[in-house]
């Protein structure tokens, strides 16, 4: 087989892209396996050192915070609960609202859709004070509900579900109706299975979105037991700056590597459907 010059160029570009993505992660990982002192004196590392197990053990189990009670493991659990809650509810709510918008042909369906759509222009960061006010009036600060609830509406997902439902032929609904399906069973027996790849794709996006939230949990939580991973990245080990102790750079790298694991796992588990969802052909 002859390789064309264009293919070589294409491959070079792709390889550069891959390196751009992978090298920083590798450096972080390699650096997380050294002593903090080594890194501080010699800079970041490209090869694996001998402190791997010690550093990771330290990170997972050391108790930190003012109360000396939160561990990184606890923060992972918090982030996981938050991301899972946000992703699940976002998918469920958007799928259902898109269903209402497409299949219940009430007059206001289109204006309502656009109303939902323009909320894309008002992300949480913009409405953070009113949101905080509401959540705190409801007494939901320092709770998982408070962390999750203000983030569960999603214009993006509603839009994608709506576009997908619109491609489903009317005859399918009609034929299901004649087979005795009601509104609920059409949703559960038809739309959900038909859009399962879409659901997987949306779930991944929304999980990563939820997992990487920073500002909202920061404002929402005062109790340390609700801290999340991303907050932790800023807070953890800063106390070591006081006094004579050295910055614990290696542990920080270990923490960063660990924090990437949950989203990666979600992607790995769902990628089969995820890719199908992006190139949707099965209809």
């Amino acid at each position: 087989m002859k390789i064309k010059p264009l293919q070589i160029i294409a491959h070079i570009i792709l390889i550069l892209g891959v390196l751009l993505m992978v090298v920083p992660i590798w450096i972080s990982f390699a650096s997380s396996s050294h002593d903090s002192v080594t890194i501080l004196t010699e800079g970041m590392k490209f090869h694996i050192g001998d402190q791997l197990a010690r550093n990771y053990n330290e990170v997972l189990n050391e108790k930190g915070g003012w109360s000396e009670e939160v561990t990184a493991a606890k923060m992972f659990i918090n982030s996981f609960i938050m991301a899972l809650g946000i992703a699940t509810l976002k998918v469920v709510i958007s799928a259902m609202s898109a269903y209402a918008l497409v299949y219940y042909r009430f007059k206001l369906a289109v204006p309502i859709f656009w109303l939902i759509f323009i909320t894309l222009l008002v992300p949480l960061e913009v409405r953070i004070f009113p949101s905080y006010k509401i959540v705190s009036d409801l007494g939901l600060t320092n709770s998982y509900t408070g962390l999750i609830l203000p983030l569960v509406a999603s214009a993006t997902a509603t839009f994608f579900f709506r576009q997908f439902y619109k491609t489903i032929p009317d005859e399918l609904l009609e034929s299901a109706k004649l087979d005795g399906a009601n509104a609920w069973s059409f949703f559960i027996d038809f739309l959900v299975p038909l859009s399962k790849t879409m659901i997987a794709a949306m779930f991944i996006f929304m999980f990563v979105y939820g997992y990487s939230q920073y500002l909202w949990p920061l404002i929402m939580t005062t109790a340390e037991e609700y801290w999340t991973v991303v907050m932790g990245m800023k807070i953890i080990y800063t106390e070591s700056y006081e006094g004579v102790a050295l910055p614990r750079t290696a542990e920080r790298f270990a923490y960063i590597i660990l924090s990437m694991i949950p989203p990666v796992l979600v992607v790995v588990f769902l990628q089969k459907w995820f890719i199908k969802g992006l190139i949707q052909t099965e209809k």
Binding site: E171, L172, A176, K177, A181
Partner: protein, 350 residues
């Protein structure tokens, strides 16, 4: 009151299109009714109103003695076979058939029994575990039929179910549908724009044009006795020949010939209709045809040509007659089988 009763049914779509005009129709239990008409004449609309998929603007539909106007399609106990089959893509054939039964809360064993029976009847037992995307067109068609049969509904509705099949399969499925309907004995309405399909399937035929039933009757009645120019032209293949003429004092004068002693008091401009198969060769006949083209179908020959006044004309003769291109034929109308229509209204006048 008959099994299915349509009384002055009218459909006006929200955009103002009047698709069906004050249509009344009765269908008996077990009858195979066919709606036939050109594209856009409103036959699907009428069918969909029976199914409950379109609102009825005016009039009443009664099924088995119950007023259906406000009844939800899921409660009507009707089954429909769609043109593109509308099989459930994510379910295998078994579940496609079983879905309607499950919704009725029928227990598992009974469902299995019924699905297997229907599958056997339609010869799809081997495909029960397959998804619809893994079936051929003809097999999908059978699954769609199976989905209708398995529920044992009050009425079957077919909306051009054969139009996606190739010619040979269409003829085969047509036969099977007819046999199946006779075996199961369910009242059926079949929509098609193919007049051969209509003639072969129907117990009774409704020829629809512009949202109005032009004529209702058995296929033979309609073929022998079309009540309007539209019906005469639509039913029969090849199409009936139409010639302009004038009727006065029971004598019809066309461009090149006259017919006397016509049984009609109508006077004025008319259209004369003669079927290609109602002609025969005879010396000094009424009609002189100059042959342009002969289509040999084996059993029949279709002879196309022109009359003296350059009007196109078709004559159908037995296949064993040898007819040369360019020859002149002299034809007579057999047994006075001709039809005269008022030119302005299209109504039959003889």
């Amino acid at each position: 009151m008959s099994f299915l009763d349509l009384k002055n049914v009218t459909k006006i779509y929200p955009n103002g299109t009047k698709a069906v005009h004050e249509t009344s129709l009765s269908i008996d239990e077990g009858e195979f009714m066919v709606f036939v008409g050109p594209s856009g004449c409103g036959k699907s609309t009428l069918l969909r109103m029976v199914a409950g998929l379109e609102d009825i603007t005016e009039g009443d539909i009664n099924l088995d003695g119950k007023l259906m106007n406000e009844v939800d399609p899921s409660e009507r106990d009707v089954a429909m076979v769609f043109q593109n089959y509308a099989l459930y893509p994510h379910m295998n054939v078994y579940n496609n058939l079983a879905y309607g039964l499950k919704n009725r809360g029928i227990d598992k064993e009974t469902i299995e029994q019924k699905v297997n029976d229907a599958a056997k009847l339609l010869q799809i037992s081997d495909y029960l575990q397959r998804k619809p995307s893994m079936l051929s067109g003809g097999q999908r068609q059978r699954v769609a039929m199976g989905r209708a049969i398995v529920r044992n509904p009050k009425i079957f509705l077919f909306d051009e179910p054969l139009s996606n099949l190739d010619a040979k399969l269409r003829i085969q499925m047509r036969l099977e549908i007819k046999k199946l309907q006779q075996k199961v004995g369910v009242t059926s309405i079949f929509v098609t724009h193919d007049q051969v399909e209509a003639m072969t399937l129907a117990d009774r035929l409704a020829v629809i044009n512009n949202g109005i039933i032009e004529q209702l009757g058995t296929p033979i009645e309609i073929y022998d006795n079309p009540k309007s120019l539209f019906v005469a032209g639509f039913i029969g293949s090849p199409q009936m020949n139409f010639l302009d003429g004038n009727l006065k004092n029971k004598t019809l004068s066309a461009e090149s010939f006259k017919i006397k002693d016509i049984i009609s008091d109508f006077e004025g401009d008319v259209t004369l209709g003669i079927r290609p198969e109602h002609l025969s060769q005879k010396e000094n006949g009424l009609i002189n045809l100059k042959v342009d083209l002969v289509e040999q179908l084996g059993s029949d020959n279709l002879v196309y040509g022109q009359l003296k006044d350059k009007k196109d004309f078709c004559y159908r003769c037995p296949g064993n007659l040898i007819i040369e291109k360019g020859s002149n034929l002299s034809l007579n109308i057999e047994n006075n089988k001709y039809y005269i229509f008022d030119k302005s209204t299209g109504k039959r006048v003889n």
